[in-house]
C-alpha cells in the first residue's frame, strides 16, 4: 500500500538537492513510500536519512519504510514568506511526531488540532515530490 498522492499543478517552490545518498529517499517518496535509515549496530532510526548512524557513528545503515502515521505536535501559518514561496502563501507548516518515535517538520494540509492523528501524503509537484501530513481519514 502506498501513501496517498495529491497532484500539484506547479513545480516545487524551492526543491531539495538530491545526492547519490538521498536519492533513494526521494525516489521512494515519488513511489508513495516514506523511508529513512536505521543503524545496523544501534538499531536506531534517524531522520532525515544519513549514511551513518548519528547515535553510535556506525557506518552500516539500512533503508526502512515508515508508517507515515503520527500525531501533530505543533503548527503555524506563515504569512510572511521567503520570496520563492510567494505563490504558496500563506503556508501551513507543522511538526509531526511519527509512531516510530521520529519528529518530522513538513507541510500540513487542512486545519487539524494539536495531537490529532496524522498521515503522510505525497504532494506530486510537476518536478518531483514533497511529503506533507493531514488528519488521518
Amino acid at each position: 500500500m502506498t501513501l496517498p498522492f495529491i497532484d500539484m499543478a506547479r513545480a516545487r517552490p524551492w526543491p531539495p538537492r538530491v545526492s547519490a545518498f538521498t536519492k533513494p529517499f526521494w525516489d521512494a517518496l515519488a513511489e508513495g513510500r516514506l523511508v529513512t535509515t536505521r543503524g545496523r549496530t544501534s538499531g536506531r532510526l534517524t531522520f532525515p536519512p544519513k549514511p551513518f548512524c548519528p547515535y553510535d557513528w556506525g557506518r552500516e545503515v539500512e533503508w526502512v519504510e515508515l508508517s507515515g502515521r503520527g500525531k501533530l505536535y505543533s503548527q503555524t501559518v506563515i504569512h510572511a514568506v521567503p520570496a520563492a514561496f510567494a505563490g504558496e502563501a500563506p503556508i501551513c507548516n507543522g511538526i509531526v511526531d511519527l509512531d516510530e518515535g521520529l519528529r518530522v517538520a513538513a507541510r500540513i494540509l487542512g486545519e487539524p488540532a494539536l495531537d490529532a492523528a496524522m498521515e503522510c501524503v505525497v504532494l506530486r509537484y510537476t518536478d518531483g515530490p514533497l511529503h506533507a501530513f493531514r488528519m488521518t481519514a
Partner: protein, 397 residues
C-alpha cells in the same frame, strides 16, 4: 592563566534604520558609524587606546560591502594588537559569542583590554529576499527549507504548543510586547518608543500565526562597542564596572527540532546554560535583579524566562501579564525594550544585551534604572534556542 574580567565601558548607536539604499547619492558607511562608538566607549572606560590588545567582532551581514571588516577597522583606528583579532558568527548568538571571546582573550592573558564590537546593517534588504537566506540558517536546507520555514515560524510553533499545554492566552503572550514597548520608551537607543496597547498588539496583521506584527522582531540596523578588561585594570580606573561573575553554555545537539520527540518548549539549552552560569557565579535565579534575554518574539521571552528559572514553568506568560517581569516588578526582563522594541540588529543583539546590563549595573540607565541593581543575567541563543549562552554580571562600584 585565567583572571577575573569586567566590562568597563560601552557605546551604542540608536537601533533602527542606519543603512542607506543601494544607489543613494550619500551612503552610510559601517566604519564611519562604528569607529566613533569605539572612541566613545574607550572614553567612558577612561582608558587610552594603547591599552587595547584584542578586537572581537560580531560578523557583519552580507550586505556590508567591506570584507575583512575587522582588520579594515583596526587599520582605520590604527590599532596594533598583541592579543587577537577575529570575526565570529553564530546566528543569533553572534554578538554574545563576540563578547564571550573578548572575555576569553582577557581571562587567558592575551590582552588586558579587549573590544567586543559589531555593526549589523540589513534594514534596506527586501524582507522576502532576506528570508531566502535566513531560512537556510534555521533548518535543514534539503528537508526543512523546502517547505518555507522562516526563523520565526519555529517560535510560532513554540507558541502554539505552549498555549495548548499550559492554557496560556493570546493576551498574556501579547502583554510581553506591551511591556517591552513601555521599557523601550525609556531607552534613548530604542527603535520604537511610542506606547503600544494590548488591543493594537492583538489586532496586528498575522506574520506567523498566532504571532502578529508586534510580536515578531523588526528589521534593525545597529552598532555597539563594549570595552572588556581585566578586573585590576577596571579597578585602577576608579570607575564603576560590571564584573563577569558567571558563564554557561549548552548546545542540545539538535538543529531546530530534535529528531527524537521531546518537550520543545522547555528550551533545554537555556536550562543547561543557565544552570551552569548560576553555578559558576555561585548564585541562584532568585538572586538576580534583572535579566536581559535574547527574545525575538514574545513567546521566546516567556520560554527563555521559564528555562532560566525567572518564572515558573507554564506561568511565564501569566506573570508577564501580571507585571512581574516589568520594571518595578519582581524580576524585570528586557529593560532595554528587548528585540521587539529596542530593536534587533541580529548579529549585534547579543552585544546590546551586555550593553544594557553594563548600563544597569553601573547605574547609567536613567529612567529605566532598576533600583539597586547588583546582579544581572544575559542570554543569547541560536536556532530555536537549540544553543544558549548565559552570562551573569555583577555591579562593582
Amino acid at each position: 592563566m585565567t583572571r577575573r574580567v569586567a566590562v568597563i565601558g560601552g557605546a551604542a548607536s540608536p537601533c533602527g534604520k542606519l543603512q542607506t539604499a543601494v544607489g543613494s547619492p550619500l551612503q552610510a558607511l559601517e566604519h564611519e558609524i562604528l569607529a566613533p562608538l569605539v572612541i566613545e566607549a574607550m572614553s567612558r572606560a577612561g582608558l587610552p587606546k594603547e591599552e587595547v590588545g584584542a578586537l572581537v567582532f560580531a560578523m557583519c551581514r552580507p550586505y556590508t560591502l567591506q570584507k575583512y571588516f575587522a582588520t579594515f577597522l583596526a587599520n582605520y583606528l590604527r590599532l596594533p594588537l598583541k592579543g587577537t583579532i577575529m570575526e565570529v558568527l553564530g546566528n543569533g548568538m553572534t554578538g554574545g559569542m563576540a563578547f564571550d571571546e573578548a572575555v576569553n582573550a582577557v581571562a587567558l592573558g592575551h590582552a588586558d583590554v579587549a573590544l567586543a564590537l559589531g555593526i549589523n546593517m540589513e534594514s534596506q534588504a527586501n524582507s522576502a529576499e532576506h528570508m531566502m537566506t535566513t531560512m537556510r540558517a534555521v533548518g535543514d536546507v534539503d528537508f526543512h527549507s523546502i517547505f518555507g520555514f522562516t526563523p520565526i515560524s519555529w517560535y510560532a510553533m513554540d507558541a502554539v504548543r505552549y498555549m495548548h499545554e499550559f492554557g496560556a492566552t493570546r493576551a498574556e503572550l501579547a502583554s510581553v510586547a506591551v511591556k517591552d514597548r513601555r521599557h523601550a520608551s525609556l531607552n534613548p537607543i530604542a527603535q520604537f518608543r511610542t506606547p503600544l496597547t494590548l488591543v493594537e498588539v492583538l489586532a496586528a496583521r498575522p506574520i506567523v500565526e498566532p504571532l502578529g506584527l508586534y510580536e515578531v522582531p523588526p528589521r534593525s540596523d545597529g552598532a555597539v562597542c563594549l570595552v572588556v578588561c581585566a578586573e585590576d585594570v577596571a579597578k585602577a580606573t576608579r570607575r564603576p564596572y560590571a564584573l563577569v561573575r558567571g558563564r554557561g553554555f549548552f548546545h542540545e545537539g539538535a538543529h531546530q527540532i530534535n529528531e527524537v520527540p521531546n518537550d520543545m518548549t522547555a528550551f533545554v539549552s537555556a536550562q543547561g546554560a543557565g544552570a551552569a552560569a548560576y553555578r559558576s557565579a555561585g548564585i541562584t535565579a532568585a538572586d538576580l535583579d534583572l535579566a536581559e534575554l535574547y527574545a525575538p518574539c514574545t513567546i521566546v521571552q516567556v520560554l527563555a524566562g521559564e528555562a532560566l528559572g525567572l518564572t515558573p514553568r507554564g506561568k511565564g506568560a501569566a506573570q508577564a501579564a501580571a507585571g512581574e517581569t516589568s520594571l518595578g516588578g519582581r524580576i524585570p526582563i528586557c529593560t532595554s525594550g528587548g528585540c521587539l522594541s529596542r530593536g534587533h540588529p541580529a548579529y549585534s543583539t547579543g552585544l546590546l544585551t551586555i550593553f544594557e546590563l553594563w548600563e544597569q549595573l553601573t547605574h547609567r540607565a536613567g529612567e529605566r534604572q532598576v533600583r539597586n541593581a547588583r546582579l544581572g543575567a544575559g542570554s543569547c541563543e541560536l536556532g530555536n534556542y537549540n544553543a544558549a549562552l548565559v552570562h551573569v554580571m555583577e555591579a562593582v562600584a
